[in-house]
């Protein structure tokens, strides 16, 4: 079982599918604690990713990660653009040395944390990326881990991003970026032949 350009593409297409299906839901999550655009941002981003991968089939994993990153960086528009973009850019760099998922995701997570300055507990996508990257490194990621991480953001006080303006009042709402990140991990474990 290993990551290839083909199953990476399959994974990303599955993620795109989920984002498109849940576009309105993601924007709804972003409404009480943000500006209500996360679904639209991500849908625009994954569309650009799919177009890029179709227009120019990447020769290597590194190219694939880079194309994904650049499309997200250019097209998302919101905070999630540079964050997801940095994640895939870090995976591109790391993929020159290894295809180990644990290492790739650890690099991605470190990139997100550096880019946005968020730590675990700040009610951001980091609350999904960090624990699930750890699980991947340990070779045991299941849907219930994903649900737990995503749902865990509900009780947190936002410390970064737009939701942080609401302080304590952000409690009781799921973080939209955590939810979309959850879809990325679900798509990963659902794609045959990667894990």
């Amino acid at each position: 079982m290993a990551l290839t350009v083909d199953n990476l593409t399959e994974w990303i297409n599955s993620f795109a599918q989920k984002v498109n299906d849940q576009k309105d839901y993601l924007s709804e999550l972003d409404t009480p604690i943000g500006d209500g655009d996360h679904g639209n941002n991500m849908a625009r981003g994954v569309k650009a990713v799919q177009e890029s991968l179709e227009n120019k089939k990447p020769a290597e994993l590194t190219d694939a990660f880079k194309q994904i990153a650049m499309a997200l960086i250019s097209k998302v528009g919101g905070a999630s653009g540079p964050l997801y973009g940095t994640a895939f850019l870090e995976m591109a760099k790391k993929s020159k040395d290894t295809t180990d998922l644990g290492e790739l995701f650890a690099a991605a997570n470190a990139g997100i944390k550096k880019r946005g300055g968020a730590q675990v507990g700040d009610k951001t996508m980091v609350d999904v990326w960090e624990p699930l990257s750890d699980q991947l490194a340990q070779g045991s990621l299941a849907q219930e881990d994903i649900d737990k991480a995503v749902n865990g953001t509900r009780g947190l006080v936002a410390k970064k991003g737009r939701a942080s303006y609401l302080g304590d009042r952000s409690v009781g709402h799921l973080d939209p970026g955590a939810m979309s990140s959850g879809y990325l991990f679900t798509a990963l474990i659902e794609t045959e032949g990667i894990l």
Binding site: G34, D35, G36, D37, R162, Y165, L166, G167, R169
Partner: protein, 122 residues
């Protein structure tokens, strides 16, 4: 009693543009703006500010401005207005954004003012 926001800038484009950022997080907060002189040049206009107070559907208004001379026209308009106008010497874009987010979440004015305090720079 409803709370609204009025934006005052020396530049018409800034006064028009900032509400677009605020509307994203505060669809239900009454927002009006006054930008530039009567002739649309860089500067502020007491009449335009008064009009922005009148046009705002709220009866209590949080007002934000860019540079000091805007404040003088704001204060003249405040003195002439029947509404309660709160004037903040805070970073224009950042504090208007903060106030808009919090007003949309029905946060009481006292708590909003507490959160605006660190943004006081004038």
């Amino acid at each position: 009693m409803t709370l609204g926001i009025t934006i005052v800038s020396h530049v018409p484009e800034i006064a028009e543009g900032l509400p677009k950022l605020l509307k994203q997080v505060a669809a239900d907060v009454p927002l009006t703006f006054a930008g530039g002189t009567d002739d649309g040049d860089i500067g502020t206009s007491m009449e335009k500010i008064s009009q922005a107070f009148t046009d705002n559907s709220a009866d209590e208004i949080l007002a934000f401005y860019d540079l000091g001379s805007a404040k003088m026209n704001l204060e003249m308009a405040q003195e002439m207005s029947d509404k309660t106008i709160h004037l903040y010497d805070t970073a224009l874009i950042e504090s208007a954004y903060t106030a808009a987010s919090l007003l949309q979440a029905d946060v009481p004015l006292n708590d909003i003012e507490e959160q605006l305090k660190p943004l006081k720079i004038k």
